[in-house]
């Protein structure tokens, strides 16, 4: 019955409101882009199947609302993620400054086992727009300081680098899955009859 080698990855997308999280997702999953801004309410769920190194991988993408009033949903959403995608707008310096707090918030709420090795991917979106406020170098530096997070400059509008970025996201998330220790081969706990019998010997109250 070992035919199924399915993998499902939970991917969380975080970043300030308006940086283009939903647009990136829509471009990636639906190959569509709209200039109209519609705020995400709560969370949006999408599924996409990709092939990484000959493996079929299902990505369960959790597109969260950037607006602060939805932050209370955080704990529930971050739990058990395989990869976290941080998004900022290269033309809006504030969205870059927020990255630290998004990352910290995620690590606190999701509390992964090895926070320093948890896979993040950084996307600098809207590179089709001028003027540019955050240089590629500055973003790279931030990534270096965070244990070498992969960085992609994307444009959801022009479908630039989107496919590559998500491919990298899937690959990074997979490493997280592959590290899974072999939980099942540990010796399972044996039922100890003698102990329990002794413990119960003073009162034979089993309703048999």
């Amino acid at each position: 019955m070992a035919t199924r080698k399915k993998v499902l990855l939970k991917v969380i997308i975080l970043g300030d409101s308006g940086v283009g999280k939903t647009s990136l997702m829509n471009q990636y999953v639906n190959k569509k882009f709209s200039n109209q801004y519609k705020a995400t309410i709560g969370a949006d769920f999408l599924t996409k199947e990709v092939i990484v190194d000959d493996r079929i991988v299902t990505m369960q993408i959790w597109d969260t609302a950037g607006q602060e009033r939805f932050q209370s949903l955080g704990v529930a959403f971050y739990r058990g993620a395989d990869c976290c995608v941080l998004v900022f707008d290269v033309t809006a310096p504030n969205t870059f400054k927020s990255l630290d707090s998004w990352r910290d918030e995620f690590l606190i709420q999701a509390s992964p086992r090895e926070p320093e090795n948890f896979p993040f991917v950084l996307l600098g979106n809207k590179v089709d727009l001028e003027p540019r406020a955050i240089s590629s170098k500055r973003a790279q530096q931030w990534c270096q300081s965070k244990n070498g997070i992969p960085y992609f400059e994307t444009s959801a509008k022009e479908a630039l680098n989107v496919e590559q970025a998500f491919q990298s996201i899937a690959r990074n998330a997979l490493t997280q899955q592959n590290q899974t220790v072999d939980l099942y081969n540990e010796f399972p706990d044996q039922i100890k009859l003698t102990n329990t019998t002794n413990r119960n010997s003073n009162g034979d109250s089993c309703a048999c």
Partner: protein, 486 residues
């Protein structure tokens, strides 16, 4: 009627089965025998069975769109057949990762699982828990059992408590394959774990369990049915098992069953088995064709017996010419060969004592219908003896041979009326244009009788009285009245 109350067919001073109140808390699991014992005395909270409708705060908005690279026909949102199923069952991790879906490939609607997780954890954030949502004729029933979330989406007539009970069975089925402690540990170590890796092959067992629990009144009653055998034959079978295993240490249970009916249950002193665990065993045996051709050694956790560890089971059919399945359950990991030898000795003893023939004869005898046994006004009945957690039913007669679903629905509804926590009934008599139903709950037994629609109250009571006497006369054949030990 009061005098009949004391008849209590099938009652016995001791039972190998943990006796149950049907609406006990399904969630309790025992981590030690201490708790098993206590569970029979503590009355469990029943408020979980209240058909509460939880209103979801309107602050929660979740959008969902599923898109996959494959063709449109796998887009379940538009799949009429998938949408039309009368009961969906989903299992997911508390991180929202899919583990099981009764219908369809769960990868194709992974987004739905995200929504289910969001609903559960949103309510949880306020230290509350979501039990059910009701939309038109569809019920959404949620069960959160650390570390899993189970969801039923049902258009059937079953009430919330019955759906919750079914979800509990599914959880126990998963626990029985991994043990509860392992399950918890896995998610402590890896909250993002994709449990499907460990459950390959188990989906089939869950599929079967769901169908099984919808078709078998045993699940509604929390009881098991015995294969009719004269008490001398049953005793001979029990003692063949006891004698053949006399030198084997740490053997906890010896169970012989055939055709979803118990032949005998032998146990280690002081230990008894819960009907819910026995149902999982029945399910395993029925769902595994491969058992018929080989003897199998398998770890098996009985969650109500001990959720923290495995028992190890030697499972095999008695012989080519006798399709009864024997399970010898021990705590020893490496007792296969000694149990395999013991099984041979058991079969030899049974053969010498002509017990195999007796089992076959009972299996081949068509069970009598109510008409056959002289109750023309009675169509069908379920009799459960509470002290032994065993029940008996006659063969299905007209008109339910065609529509046995209606019969099971009637029983489920009546059972709920007798055990509904807000207003439990002792006695219920209902007549419709199609049938009459009498349900009766006493200290010793529960009886559900379906009668001809024109039967009046007096006749119904007289019939039921006669029926109880009839069962009483045959009790040593229809029930296992002793609880033999190794």
């Amino acid at each position: 009627m009061a005098s009949n109350c004391e008849v209590e067919p099938g009652a016995a001073p001791e039972s190998a089965l943990v006796t149950t109140d049907s609406y006990e808390n399904f969630q309790q699991m025992s981590s030690s025998l201490e708790e098993i014992k206590n569970s029979n005395f503590t009355s469990s909270t029943q408020d979980e069975f209240l058909d509460n409708c939880n209103n979801i705060d309107s602050d929660l908005h979740v959008n969902c769109s599923t898109v996959s690279v494959s063709s449109q026909d796998e887009d379940y949102i538009r799949d009429e057949e998938w949408l039309g199923k009368s009961k969906h069952i989903f299992v997911l991790s508390s991180a929202g990762k899919p583990i099981y879906s009764r219908y369809g490939n769960e990868d194709r609607f992974a987004s739905y699982f995200g929504i289910m997780q969001a609903l559960v954890s949103f309510v949880q954030a306020d230290d509350d828990s979501i039990r059910s949502m009701h939309a038109g004729d569809t019920k959404f029933v949620f069960l959160f059992r650390e570390p899993l979330i189970l969801v039923a989406v049902s258009k059937t007539e079953e009430c919330t408590s019955q759906l919750t009970a079914q979800l509990n069975y599914v959880f126990n089925q998963i626990a029985s394959m991994l043990t509860l402690s392992r399950l918890v540990k896995i998610y402590e170590q890896r909250r993002n774990y994709d449990l499907r890796r460990l459950l390959t092959g188990v989906e089939r067992l869950i599929d079967h369990l769901l169908d099984f629990s919808e078709q078998e009144p045993a699940f509604t009653l929390g009881a098991v049915q015995c294969l009719p055998l004269t008490s001398s034959v049953r005793d001979a079978i029990s003692s063949a098992i006891v004698q053949s295993c006399s030198k084997i240490k740490n053997l906890v249970f010896g169970i012989l069953l055939a055709n979803n009916q118990l032949i005998t249950l032998v146990r280690m002193k002081k230990y008894c088995i819960h009907p819910h665990d026995l149902h999982l065993i029945f399910n395993l045996v029925q769902a595994s064709e491969s058992l018929k051709t080989a003897e199998i050694w398998t770890p098996l956790c009985l969650p109500r017996f001990d959720a923290s560890g495995f028992l190890y089971g030697h499972v095999s059919y008695l012989a080519e010419d006798c399709q009864a399945c024997l399970l010898l359950l021990t705590v020893e990991r490496d007792a296969f060969f000694s149990l395999s030898e013991a099984k041979q000795r058991i079969v030899e003893r049974l053969r010498r004592g002509n017990c195999l023939e007796a089992i076959n004869e009972s299996l081949n005898t068509k069970e009598e219908t109510c008409v056959d046994i002289g109750f023309p006004e009675l169509r069908h009945y379920l009799y459960k003896c509470k002290s032994t957690a065993q029940f008996h039913q006659p063969s299905m007669g007209a008109p339910y041979t065609i529509n046995c679903k209606r019969l099971l629905d009637l029983y489920r509804r009546a059972h709920y009326r007798l055990h509904c926590p807000t207003r439990p009934l002792k006695l219920l008599f209902e007549r419709t244009s199609e049938d009459a139903l009498l349900a009766w709950d006493t200290r010793g037994f529960e009886l559900y009788a379906i009668l001809e629609p024109l039967t009046d109250t007096g006749n119904a009571i007289a019939t039921v009285g006669r029926l109880l006497n009839w069962i009483k006369k045959r009790e040593d054949k229809l029930f296992q009245l002793n609880a033999p030990t190794f």
